[in-house]
Symmetry: D2
Subunit: 474 residues, 4 copies
């Protein structure tokens, strides 16, 4: 109980869970180098709570019991709490190489559950939340069903398993079958939270299901994506050789869930609200954890331009300004989403949905153009330059040092070049670019939410007043 | 003393000031219909302070003396004060048909003077400020010199008058000569504040000058722009037939300024800071007063699409979403500029310069595309439709009513169409579009300021950390 | 017979046609100054055919009879003919101040009719075409119905007149009722061609109608838009004080059309093809006549930047480059649309529909941003500067000459500034901006046409080949 | 002599050339799997000339001798020749997986040399060209110097070797030292052509040098970039597991060049023109070989949207339209650059420089946004999906087949998904994105060239005419 150490976390993963990687069963996640990177990256979060530099931000103390728990598991009650939450997510991302820290997503799901459920489901979610905080657990979230024919509702699919659903129900619990795609952190979580992926109607009742399940449950299998597999020289990939998230196809092959872990069963009317409540928190997390990525892009473009010797060129200054505008607009909107947060009837302060989606939309639609600008500042060496094996070779390094010096020594310039390559080209760069447009909701989803959340009344009234169709002022 | 009425304001303008319009001297500004519109629009500001609906926002009461003065003349001491200031400017703009209300600019200049000056100049500015607030005066601001050859400093110009400068100095005061362009509100102000337009060096000392002067001073002439002259049917131009700002070339032909009105004389080192201090407040005003314009664009696009019967089309919803994103990003950044305001050593809370410029840049660079979207939603009738004389003609109106009905009666649809035409095409629309890119600073000026205000240290540190060139975290 | 003179054209307009302007009947179009400008502008086209400088381009001689007729009325038989046609339209636009010359639209309609009709309709259209060419007539085209509820087909409208339709049919001809919006050149044409506005189905048969009618036909009324009415000083509006097009609501109040003038009656299956055949030629005309406008924008931005003294600034050079890219991309696509022209079964060479729509789309979506760039280069004087009455006044002009000199004398700089103002702000600038997005088809219409015309087979095959789903190469 | 076979080409590479890869000397390029892929890809070009399907396009027969040589080595004499050249480059790219075929670049260099050189240099270049065509050689081109401090000219660099230069000159030839970056095809060429990288002045004479050198010359070393090293499952990377280009740092350590291979020595005035003549041809090659890439992006987006079951969604159709506009604008501009080609005094038809640069600029600036659209259409599976090892595993494949079926079987959908991943994320996708903005010239270089090539006279004249400053028409 209490805040676990990184070692305790690592040890807990050897529990017989069913992992598949590159066509084979993996018995020990720690023994497979590709996967070990992701575990070690997740462990950063545990180190944070024991590191004097970050404890104040990362740890909350219960004023009554004195018990310590992770600050992500504190329920935000005010806009200031949201600002702090955003800051914690941002620093976690910085320590994790610009990706999520391992408790971000799960805490968003908990907030979604606690803010939406009713009756027994709510009681169970509260009990579960208390245990998660007390035992300092890592949660993964499985939401996106594989979906099959996207023009059809769950109950209309030729194969009912294309959306996760209840296949049996007893006095003890339910049995579920189906699969979820894009489950981040699945193989290295303690518990998996399952959420519905969309609004549902009465016919979809068996598909309206939400619960928690331990990662080693019988019938639960994680098929880990082999995207970006293989070991790489840390000089070539200074970020991704140390930081990684695992993504899975998560298959439920008649998995039994006892009632105390079932949050939602056959209540389609709550499916949509639960999905959206999670999403609003999760998009707020998204824009918070992207801030170090955006800062790194601005900083990298400036540093490499300086090292290349072109920092004073007018067009370079213009490009840097574009990057600053992009990064700082996202930052300001994220901060604004927190400051405009509203406290709901249960005392949870939610970030402003319109502003969160503006921030996410601005981030997502500007990302590829920002990539282009960073690449323009860096130059073709991103993909034509030497590698770590070259740098390590005594016969080659002097050649590189002689010819790749510019306004900085080759060692510095190539290190920055490799970081930019890791961030913008190669597997990790591509991963980031796809995350930008798909993770935590697509651009189209954000646009729909923006139009839905917008209060058109003020705009309509002002237009009609200017047209002299109405005379009143607000 | 105290808050004046609109009638008192109007009467005070008959003071012998030298006005030129369309090639002729104008003796009475109220007798010339084109100019009268601008005076009546300015009078709205006086009505606000006497209107129960707006008094609370527009009027401040001195806690000691009980004296009332205009809230724009209250010095902002906290971010909340800036939020309130922004709201007041926004509502003023709404009442003035989306343009500045008449005290906005002058109050920005006062804040710039009070925050930058030193010594005698500061004392005089404070005294002047006290009088302005107490007497409820209208100030215009003359800043932009006509400049001549823009590659040359003031003292290098072949004609020294191309920047306003001191031509004589006595025990009683100074004598100035030159001209300022784009002076808004000059013909209908009480006092004119003159500010330097740029940073200066020692050689430019005679051009480093700032002062206040009454509008009817000897040697001071206002050459009023005839842009958008002529009377128009209010049905055709529902906004601009009622709302207008006058712009002038303001010529100083050896105007004497007594010392008590001189704020800066021959102190080039303060010229740049004074110019910038005004500009930061003024850009905050800019983005605040544009909010009703942006709301009106969103609202107008939605209303006309509804009336045209195309509100459900996918591409129309997409266009509306783009407008919402544009308008709400500017609004959020404006609010953020206030919330991030910092209190200077003199107790004045300044809006955050980086965020103000982000807001202004976002507004200015997005405006023309927003125009296009609004025009796309409205249709070609904007420029091919009937006019007010047609609508008034008993033989014509029935034809229009029959054929211009769509998903709304012709009367409503044409009224909205005319408002959009006024806002986006025609003289007033063109005026707004040029204001968007030039007023309160050009887009390039905003970009320079953004790059200057950006704290690059965090970004650089984060990039270097990811490149493993540095190890620390902030 | 043969090529008429401008005077002959002007005289022919006094034929008792029914014109309404600003709420009143107009008996003589030449006597109303606002309308006279449009007639004089239309007369430019007649002057061209008699001007040695332009005869070679503008006149075609029948190789058999030696008769001369307007080159716009020559049927294009090869891609080279389309190139020449484009050039003629471009030069006509240049002479007409960047707008259509008066025979452009009608010749597009003729080409649409001759390329689509069948049977009797085709015979009548050929006879009509021969007469038009021989008598050198001016045609206007009325296509866009007023439409009412846009979600409904013609026969579903509550008022059947909201689309023009046949109300009676006799041995001699048909009787039509309804109204067309946005008819350009209606009041000053010889004959009006009516085209259907959309694809139709069987229920819409009475609305599937196309014919020609003289401008003075009984029951035909032109309600001329008063947009941009009023006289203006030529110094203020150097283009629009000389060049103008009239736009009307054109009302058919039971107008009788004899059979020899009826091209289409109750043949809904041809309505869509006829509308589209006209549109493809008309969009080709559109991008051709916009070229002088785009050149003028590039040239004006460069000239005013030079006169302002900022031509060497990096950001100005960047802006000019953006304008060049925009203008030259439209020019290249327009030329390409001609070069890729295909000859149909009737021997008429049609511009390539995909490329025409690319050109038009590029023009339309880039126009507002180009406006912004030109305005950025010009400066705020566009809307705050002096007017023609000031320039004419002996007391005022010296002041303007002194203070508005920069890197060019005030006379030149202000002349260029006024031209830019006419082109980008004010009534004419607004008219151009709305034409850009609505005339000759909306942006959405162009996008639909691009997707429809695109041959997706090559792209699909290449993608599948790279995915190793198919192996063949084209 | 004559057209070689792929096997002859492969065998010729075992000639003792000095290759370094991943820190080690490579004795046999064919024995190193990573490098072998690039050789096999290059061999495609040899297969083309022997393949009946492509011979007509790829082979030219000398009308006198009957000798056959590669069509890329035919000198274009007319615009039609340029159209054919573009088509050949396009088909070569299609066969090579959207990258250059191996003779493209060298033929551009030959055209640059033959069009620019004078005197002895020209004679030697002609002799060299004849031999290359006759012996069907593969050329690589080394142009970009490593540059050191970019604010300094070659002779100002602290280390003179940072630009390749002549260190000795004898009766037999010259000795050169230095290094070139980004040399594509170096390790698998027969001969390397060296070109200067920029305009030079008299002080830079020793750096103004151009020549040809065999790949196995003494003192010449290729340091091959290890970017994208490692073998990959062909199911995961259907393109890049088969298609690759090698990029090198090419070091000249006192390499002797006999006079008959020296094209330029100490003639700085020709350095700039030679560099640019190559570049204009090379950018024309660039936009030609990108066409299959752009087609593949359009086709892939459409196919994956169809397979995902969302092809009818309005926003998807809009995205596809954006891709079509992008791809077809580049295609039209490329074709136009050929059609507008001008024949120089030596009879070589050069593509129009303005239009080539417009095409390249349009391609380069639109590429990243196009990537985003393709990724939006594909979905997150791009980076979270299964890999080839999973697909091959009998226990795993059925799971994938069940759950990744949508509107197409999983096998097809995942194949298309993997192709898109290869093209847009991962090493190859990143490589393509950097090529887009840097290869064949940066975006800034294209902008400079556009402004330089633009004939501003027409635009200026038209603007001045409209401003009534000049009266003539062109």
């Amino acid at each position: 109980m209490g805040l676990r150490t990184a070692e305790e976390y690592r040890a807990s993963l050897r529990d017989g869970r069913t992992l598949w990687y590159r066509g084979k069963r993996v018995d020990d996640i720690l023994a497979e180098p590709d996967l070990r990177v992701a575990v070690d990256n997740a462990a950063v979060d545990f180190d944070m709570t024991h590191d004097p530099e970050h404890r104040e931000l990362a740890v909350v103390t219960d004023p009554v019991t004195g018990a310590e728990y992770h600050a992500l598991y504190a329920l935000p009650a005010t806009p200031d709490d949201l600002v702090r939450r955003s800051r914690l997510i941002e620093i976690g991302s910085l320590l994790c190489g610009t990706i999520l820290s391992v408790k971000d997503v799960g805490s968003d799901a908990l907030l979604g559950l606690l803010g939406t459920l009713e009756g027994d489901g709510l009681q169970r979610a509260r009990a579960f939340y208390t245990r998660v905080a007390a035992e300092d657990l890592v949660l993964a979230v499985a939401q996106t069903d594989v979906k099959g024919d996207r023009a059809k509702a769950p109950h209309e699919q030729p194969d009912p398993d294309l959306y996760l659903h209840i296949v049996n129900e007893t006095a003890d619990g339910i049995v579920v079958r189906g699969a979820k795609a894009h489950t981040t952190f699945g193989p290295n979580c303690d518990e998996l939270i399952v959420l519905p992926t969309r609004a549902m109607k009465d016919d979809d009742a068996p598909w309206a299901v939400s619960f928690a399940v331990p990662a080693n449950a019988r019938g639960l299998s994680f098929y880990i994506s082999s995207y970006s597999s293989g070991e790489h020289h840390p000089w070539d990939r200074p970020i991704s050789s140390r930081h990684k998230m695992l993504e899975t196809l998560t298959v439920f092959d008649d998995v039994f869930i006892p009632w105390e872990r079932v949050f939602l069963a056959r209540e389609p009317r709550l499916a949509g609200p639960l999905a959206m409540a999670f999403v609003d928190f999760h998009r707020f997390t998204a824009v918070s954890y992207k801030l170090p990525l955006l800062d790194a892009m601005v900083g990298a473009a400036g540093e490499i331009a300086r090292m290349n010797g072109v920092i004073k060129a007018g067009h370079i200054r213009d490009k840097l300004t574009q990057l600053v505008i992009y990064a700082e607009t996202v930052r300001s909107l994220t901060e604004s989403a927190a400051r405009r947060g509203q406290v709901d009837a249960r005392g949870i302060c939610r970030p402003d949905a319109l502003t969160v989606n503006l921030a996410k939309y601005t981030f997502a639609t500007g990302y590829h153009e920002a990539l282009r600008i960073v690449q323009e500042c860096a130059g073709g060496l991103l993909v034509t330059g030497p590698g770590g094996d070259d740098w390590d070779a005594p016969e080659v390094r002097p050649v590189l040092e002689k010819y790749f010096r510019a306004s900085a020594p080759a060692a510095e310039r190539l290190a920055m070049m490799k970081m930019i390559a890791d961030l913008t080209v190669g597997d990790f760069g591509g991963y980031q670019s796809v995350l930008a447009v798909h993770a935590e909701g697509s651009i189209e989803a954000e646009k729909m939410q923006i139009l839905r959340e917008y209060d058109a009344a003020r705009a309509t009234a002002r237009a009609r007043r200017l047209a002299r169709l109405d005379e009143h002022v607000e």
